[in-house]
Amino acid sequence: MADFPMPVFYSYPPYFTLQPVKETQRKQRESWKDLILSYCCHHRIFIVSLDAAADEFPLFENKAIQRKLSLEARSLLLEDLAASGRGRWLGPDRRRLLVLWRGVGEWADVIHAWARGNGLEDSVVSLEELLGGEDVRGSELAGMPRELLSAALRTLEERGKARVFRGDANDDTGVKFFA
């Protein structure tokens, strides 16, 4: 995996302290928001958790300058993402965020393109296959979490490009793609 080029501010200690002045804080949060999105996009990280340890999601801490973002700051940054539509909270406790470095509509297009590319039009694919099947590995859909997949499929359904069949158990959910 290629190295992600960190922006200049990542090595600048004040960026790890939540700024007291409103305008400065706004700039700070804006910069962090962009960084989180591009970092997740680069490393294909879908879910960011507030409880994550540093080795799982090392972005919020910079050991080189001995600074890390406080829990309050992290929570605020994730709130920013959610508020701007670039993230969705998973669960009511607001500890895990689904990062939408690509919008749900775009994901829907990606799934549909994948289906066409693999000749799966007019055939039914199960959800499990979409989550971890042979054809998915190595494609754009690899690693997609269930929540995101469901949301994207719902969008496709609204557009009329697919139809979701819900079975009795969770395993039976299937999707039929239309051309």
């Binding site: 200049v8 501010f9 090595s11 600048y12 200690p13 004040p14 960026y15 790890f16 302290t17 700024q19 007291p20 002045v21 305008e23 400065t24 700039k27 700070q28 804006e30 910069s31 050991k63 080189a64 300058i65 001995q66 600074r67 890390k68």
Partner: protein, 346 residues
Amino acid sequence: MAILWLLFGMDPVPWRKRALESQHGTLPQDVLDPSQCVRLRRFLRSLLLHDISPNLQCRGAGSHDLSLRCNLVVDGLLENQSKQGTTRWMRRRPGIQGLQRTQATRESFKALGDHVNQTKLELMRSQMAVFKESLEQFALKYRSDIRRDPAFRESFHAMCVTIGVDPLASNKGIWNRLLGFGDFYYELGVQCVETCLVLRSSVGALVELNLLLRHIQRRRGSAAEAVSADDVLKSLEKLSVLGGGLGVVTVGGSRYVRSQPMELSRDAADALDFAQRSGGFFSAPDLSASLGWAPARTEFTLQQLLRDGLTWLDLPPDAGAPCLYWVPAVGMEQAAAAYAAAHRLA
């Protein structure tokens, strides 16, 4: 000892030259009280008669008072002259013939004065024409050097400033034809503003000049013509007529480019200067100690700087250490590097 100098608007009449030592007549001190000195009054009167208006300047102790009195004398003489129509210096000739001759003499001297003025003007005009031509030839000859080398360009501009010529004043003038770099400065100005706007979100509204220059050079790439700090200043000068808070501020030893309207108090400027000298960051106790300020004054200035967005707060991991204040305007990368070096981090 005050010396009375008489400076003339034009060359003195030839036959009066004897009375003057040089263009600048200097008279010794004992002549200096014009209210009593007949000789000086007569002299001044004769100058006025020939339409030579003396510009009286006095130097030395007591000179201000003296100059006032001299000027009063001159004014008094002028008034007298207009009242009487003649002065006591000129011998009254009896009869109408005398009056006519007086008039004729006066008119001839006036004509002489005009003639001298005219000659002077012609001379100056021809000198200016010669000078202008040689300057144009110089510009043509060294045109490529001026475009290419920023140091040479700077010297050329300095020369123009001393002469009073502004090659950038108009894009349509002869200078544009000769040098062709009116556009260069406007383009550079646009690049400056764009870079300032980009930096505003990270560094803030105030950017140190060399830092801005580095960003601009990076942006222009290596293929474009070299620019120096002086070029940036020139183009900003031209752009500052647009307002918008764009300008250059000098704080301590360095110059900063301001992209938003901002007032820097004296204390704030001193604090910024201290930040520059200490590598871009400092703690409140350091600031107090270095500038000798009371804690309240330090606190007030720091709050002001934070509010203006010029300073960012940093809480170090060690809870006992004082919090640090960073100034991005002096440069972020160097500051971070300096911090790493100071704390011996990786």
